[in-house]
């Protein structure tokens, strides 16, 4: 079903200095270019789970996600992929998951 992502794996992402949107992604050892303006969205996380200071109602936990259509660099004829590029909650650590189509 379109809209659900596959398991996310670490990725390296270069973003636009203006909009902050991803422009280039390195994922599974391959380099991809973002070919359409990515769609930003926000994924909320269950704040009531876990233990320690993380388990608090003082704030909502969420991750920023960009749904991006990418094409492998140097392979203009490739069909392209739809990826959800997720920024970690508290640090700039990216992951990518393929969106089922």
């Amino acid at each position: 079903m379109r809209g659900s992502s596959g398991a996310a794996e670490p990725a390296r992402v270069r973003t636009s200095p203006v909009s902050g949107a991803p422009e280039r992604v390195v994922w599974r050892g391959r380099s991809y270019l973002v070919v359409e303006a990515p769609v930003p969205w926000v994924e909320r996380l269950p704040w009531w789970e876990g233990a320690g200071p993380e388990r608090t109602a003082r704030r909502s936990r969420e991750r920023r996600v960009w749904r991006a259509r990418v094409r492998e660099e140097g392979r203009a004829e490739s069909p392209g992929l739809l990826l959800d590029l997720t920024v970690g909650e508290s640090e700039e650590r990216w992951s990518a998951g393929r969106v089922a189509s």
């Binding site: 379109r2 930003p40 969205w41 926000v42 269950p46 009531w48 789970e49 233990a51 109602a57 969420e62």
Partner: protein, 1123 residues
């Protein structure tokens, strides 16, 4: 102009929004907005608060509602969500259309026509009906409907069905031409879901294409992002699913009030995501502002803000000028209220009446007074006891109109305390009526003025600590039993004070310990604090009724109240002042019902002999020839009554029966009516905190000369022994010291309530200027400072004497009845159970007085507690059949119409009680009179055995058969017959012991342990070591003066109540026993205060049953032969 937010839910969107309307407006004002909106779900109960806050902030209010609507032509598809914003048209049509729409929304029956979208069932309105409320005769819209992401248009866009979206949009335009806008919302939901940026962009494209204005909102339900988890908890509670079962992905993370600048950026982002040119963002923002301006309300014009609206004069039967009609009605009351007044006194009455009428006319409140008098006349015509309470008792007009029985001259009560100089809203008059007949009063008010002028008052049931912990526990999925343990003892605590209560309150020590030991419960406490004061739902106020003119339902939406089904406004009592509606608090007071019952029983039982039976003069003018007593006319100086009050045995006496009050009257030894008023006024948190009680009592008893404030005030302070205790005294002192009118003095007093130092400079200046006739200063500098010091501290503890004087009438009447007709009065108390004590305590009090309590008897008991003559001078109280647990109205009816019953079998056949009821009746002796034989009454065990045998025979198929009547009556007593403990059965079936006190079985042990009876304590010297025992009947933990908390336990031992006090050390020593044990033995020392005041300063306590087991075992061991 700052971009306004047009779609905001406050906490009055129950179990959805998290911010108060006031805080949302503050945020708008802080941002520099000129307009602020509120669009709660399914109602407008927060709207008046919102408008009030807007007026305070100097910005224009917009009001709307978010509701579910269904297109009937589409069949049973999921209802859509729309938001309706009332237009500010200057003619009130927008507001009226909105509230009538909301009334129509709630008028539909439950079940059908309700939606279960996102949790709880919500009312649904047919789309077709919107036009009836939102279009005027010229076809002009009185409101705009926002079609947002969950509208049928929004859903079609989400589904990618552009044609269907356009068709639905056209359908809405056809319903409300010129009254439709597309609502653009982006919460950055996952692509493919509503409120994603793509969805918002497609919605905007549709609006542009269709030429319909689009407005940008953020569907706000929180003030800050930090409030989002609170919203999740509310969703869990509303959806009856714990958080772990929340449907994913979680929504609403961005539904908070974003600043205008961020909203403008959002507009640009949405447009960038669309196929529209950049300038579409500007148009979106402009259209949003334009709609906000169209909807800005002028509350004065649209709602008649603060303008009184009462039933029209013709409804009250008044054809005259209202002021003249009021004056004439009051004049007619003079001969009745002051039948023996001579010329000077009458002149005083007429002078004051002129003054009050002039003031009432100046305020334009004559119709209000006429309305209240009309309501009271109707209550009186129904024969229902009533008494006004509050500052309204200070009005002579109210006294003459029959609204209040309190004579303002008798207690120097002031009209100005009721209707000061600067009042801009209708004053309050609260009416106490018999609790048992309050429903009749409501029905009469609705009947007399019509449902279009009358509504019940609403109140938001807010969460306090107990409910908040329960909801948080549910949301977190914590086991219900664990939550129950935590909330035990958590009464009257605000959720925001939960931590401090856990730290301070003795009864919460165990819960506090649990929280320390289980750190995972920290989140529970955190969430509970966040739920503080959030309303759970709207319910009918327990005693509030509002009256208006025939436009009432253009002003307030109404919905059927749960239970009664009567129309209930969505506004609360504070809102009514601003709406200008007349609110009446009709309080059901159980003591009034108890008094009414006692009066009936006196008349029924004694008839013409009633005066003699009460030890009264047979010619007493307040007793009718038929034996009916008029409590309003009884003498106020009956020494026998004061003597009874001084004993402290005031259980059942209105306002004087709490443990603290009983101790106080024992100390202060009241000997006049004004002492009762003082006692009621003194036992309040303010006077207690201010330490006013001791000096007052000492001055009253002559143990200490009262501090003389100034000779000029001697008369004012005479009946409070020199103390400044009442608001009315403050007004008199300010009047004399500052040379101001009483109305101005009331304004100063009210200012002091807000800021005690506000009038300081003016007071000093004016008091120093005061001169006598010779031009000498009336007050020295020292006088001025001393008077000001006393007045200033008064702000913390004053009380309205008119209010206390109103209470005192019922206090005195109940004390009088208890003294003169104790059996009938106790029957009234048992029937209606007023006050803080359980029925078993009232029975204990009856036993203490020496009144025989007669067990229920199917041939003798009625549906009420009735007095029964047992001999020429002996009367007892027959327990009501209605007191038997589980008895139904049908069973009662069959018993009453079927008696007398001749035998058990006869009873079983004709009264046809259920099997459990039959067994219960047998266990408490209600069948004793029909189970025996002539000359040989059956024992309790025998009756129980017979009933068991009868039921066993039925189960075996032997009956009941009318052809075999003798069979059941001849059943043999089986071997199982055994004597049961009557006290225990009675407690289970009647919630009280009738035939004996709970302590009776333990008396031998108590005697051996040297346990004192409660009745003896008053005779013991101070600091005597004692042991007392009894059944716990009340437990309180009032704050002490040094911040620590005392635990006060009242123990009933059948001779009275022993009042025990546990300080912190004793609390620690006793542990959980202090709150969880019903029967206690307490060891301590007496603490005397005054002639009859005595408490036990506890040092330790034991569970009486444990002590009994040990004692019994020891005795058994002693009795056993030595091996």
């Amino acid at each position: 102009m700052i971009l306004p937010q047009l779609h905001l839910a406050s906490m009055y969107s129950f179990n959805h929004g998290t911010a108060s309307p006031e805080r949302l407006v503050e945020a708008a004002a802080a941002e520099g907005a000129r307009i602020a909106a509120l669009t709660d779900r399914d109602g407008v109960s927060g709207a008046v608060r919102h408008i009030r806050a807007c007026l305070k902030a100097g910005i224009s209010p917009v009001v709307g509602v978010e509701l579910c609507a269904r297109d009937e032509a589409e069949g049973p598809e999921q209802p859509q969500s729309i938001t309706v914003l009332a237009h500010g048209r200057g003619d009130g049509r927008g507001w009226a259309g909105l509230v009538r729409l909301v009334s129509a929304l709630h008028a539909r029956p439950r079940g059908r026509g309700r939606a279960r979208r996102q949790g709880p069932r919500r009312p649904v309105l047919p789309c077709e009906r919107t036009a009836a409320f939102l279009l005027d005769e010229a076809g002009e819209p009185a409101a705009t409907v926002l079609l947002g992401p969950d509208s049928d248009v929004g859903r079609a866009v989400l589904a990618g069905d552009r044609a269907r979206a356009l068709e639905r949009l056209d359908r809405w335009r056809g319903r409300l031409p010129g009254g439709i806008a597309v609502e653009i919302v982006c919460h950055f939901a996952r692509p493919g879901l509503a409120r994603s940026i793509v969805h918002a962009a497609r919605m905007l494209e549709l609006a542009e294409r269709a030429g319909v204005p689009a407005v940008l909102t953020n569907e706000v339900r929180h003030l800050h992002p930090e409030d989002v988890p609170t919203g999740d908890v509310l969703d869990a509670v509303a959806g009856l699913q714990p958080l772990r079962a929340h449907p994913l992905p979680l929504s609403g993370g961005h539904a908070w009030r974003k600043p205008a600048a961020e909203m403008e950026r959002l507009a640009r982002s949405i447009v960038a995501r669309s196929e529209l040119p950049r300038r579409a963002a500007g148009r979106l923002l402009d259209d949003t502002v334009r709609l906000a301006e169209r909807c800005a309300l002028d509350p004065v014009v649209e709602l008649g803000w603060r303008r009184p609206k009462v039933p029209e004069l013709h409804v009250l039967g008044v054809r005259d000028d209202p002021v003249r009609a009021l004056r004439n009605a009051a004049l007619r009351g003079i001969p009745e209220r002051y039948p023996t007044a001579r010329r000077t006194a009458l002149e005083r009455v007429h002078e004051r009446l002129r003054h009050e009428i002039a003031e009432i006319a100046r305020f334009g409140f004559a119709p209000y007074f006429l309305t209240v008098a009309d309501v009271v006349a109707r209550i009186r015509a129904l024969g229902i006891r009533h008494q006004a309470r509050g500052s309204g008792a200070g009005s002579l007009v109210n006294h003459l109109l029959g609204v209040s029985a309190v004579d303002p001259f008798e207690h120097d009560l002031l009209f100005e305390r009721f209707l000061g100089a600067h009042r801009s809203t209708l004053p309050d008059i609260d009416l106490d009526v018999e609790s048992g007949r309050r429903g009749e009063v409501y029905r009469e008010i609705f009947r007399a003025y019509g449902e279009h002028r009358t509504a019940l008052l609403a109140m938001g049931s807010t969460r306090r600590a107990r409910g908040a912990v329960r909801d948080a526990g549910f949301a977190l999925g914590i086991d219900e039993d664990r939550v129950d343990e935590l909330v035990a003892g958590l009464h009257r605590v605000e959720a925001s004070e939960l931590r401090s209560a856990l730290a301070e309150r003795p009864e919460l020590r165990q819960a506090a310990q649990r929280l320390r030991e289980e750190p995972e419960l920290e989140l529970l406490v955190e969430l509970a604090e966040r739920l503080d004061r959030l309303p759970r739902n709207l319910s009918a106020h327990p005693c509030g009724v509002v009256l208006g003119d025939e436009g009432l339902q253009d002003l307030t939406p109404v919905q059927p109240a749960a239970g009664s089904g009567l129309p209930m406004s969505q506004f609360d009592k504070d809102d009514m002042d601003d709406l200008g509606l007349l609110k009446l608090d009709v309080l059901g007071v159980r003591t009034q019902s108890a008094i009414a019952h006692a009066l009936d029983e006196i008349e029924r039982g004694y008839g013409a002999d009633a005066a003699r039976a009460g030890g009264l003069d047979p010619e007493a003018p307040f007793v009718s020839p038929a034996g009916r007593i008029d409590p309003e006319a009884i003498p106020r100086d009956d020494e026998a009554v004061f003597e009874a009050i001084r004993t402290g045995h005031t259980i059942g006496v209105f306002q004087l029966d709490s443990p603290g009050q009983r101790e106080l009257v024992g100390r202060m030894q009241p000997d006049r009516y004004s002492d009762i008023i003082a006692s009621i006024s003194l036992f309040r948190p303010g006077p207690l905190r201010a330490g006013l009680l001791d000096p007052f009592v000492d001055a009253k008893l002559g143990l200490r000369a009262p501090e003389r404030l100034h000779p000029l005030f001697d008369e004012v302070l005479a009946d409070s022994y020199g103390a400044v205790l009442y608001h009315e005294q403050v007004l008199r002192i300010l009047q004399l010291a500052m040379d101001v009118t009483l109305a101005e003095a009331d304004g100063i007093r009210r200012a002091m309530e807000r800021n005690p130092d506000a009038p300081a400079a003016a007071f000093r200046e004016r008091a120093r200027e005061r001169r006598d006739e010779q031009g000498r200063r009336l007050f020295s500098d020292q006088d001025v400072e001393r008077i000001w010091r006393v007045l200033r501290s008064f702000g913390a503890f004053g009380f309205c004497r008119a209010h206390a004087a109103s209470f005192a009438i019922t206090s005195y009447q109940s004390a009088w009845l208890k003294t003169r007709y104790p059996v009938e009065f106790m029957a009234g108390l048992l029937e209606h159970e007023p006050g803080m004590y359980p029925r078993r305590m009232l029975m204990s009090e009856a036993r203490r007085i020496g009144i025989p309590l007669l067990p229920p008897d199917v041939n003798a008991s009625g549906v009420q507690y009735l007095v029964e003559a047992l001999g020429p001078e002996v009367r007892g109280i027959r327990i009501s059949l209605r007191a038997v647990h589980g008895i139904t109205e049908e069973e009662l009816e069959r018993i009453l119409t079927g008696r007398p019953f001749r035998s058990l079998g006869d009873f079983r056949r004709r009264a046809a009680p259920s099997r459990p009821l039959l067994e219960r009746l047998a266990s408490i002796g209600a069948l004793d009179s029909i189970a025996g034989e002539p000359g040989r009454p059956a024992g309790r065990g025998e009756v129980i055995a017979r009933v068991r045998g009868l039921l066993a025979a039925e189960r075996r198929g032997r009956g009941p058969d009318p052809r075999q009547p003798a069979l059941f009556d001849e059943l043999p007593v089986t071997a199982e017959a055994e004597e049961t403990a009557p006290g225990r059965s009675e407690l289970e079936v009647l919630s009280a012991e009738v035939t004996r006190h709970a302590l009776d079985p333990y008396r031998p042990m108590l005697a051996e342990l040297g346990v004192r009876e409660a009745a003896e304590l008053a005779e013991l010297p101070d600091r005597s070591p004692v042991r007392v025992a009894g059944v716990r009947v009340a437990t309180q933990s009032p704050p002490g003066r040094r911040g620590s908390r005392l635990v006060a336990i009242s123990l009933d031992d059948g001779t009275g109540c022993a009042e025990t006090r546990f300080a912190e050390e004793a609390q620690r020593r006793c542990g959980p026993l202090l709150f969880g044990t019903e029967l206690l033995i307490v060891q301590g020392t007496t603490r005397r205060s005054g002639a009859r005041g005595v408490t036990v300063r506890a040092e330790g306590a034991r569970d009486l049953k444990t002590a009994w087991r040990e004692w019994s075992a020891a005795h058994a061991a002693q009795a056993a032969p030595s091996a």
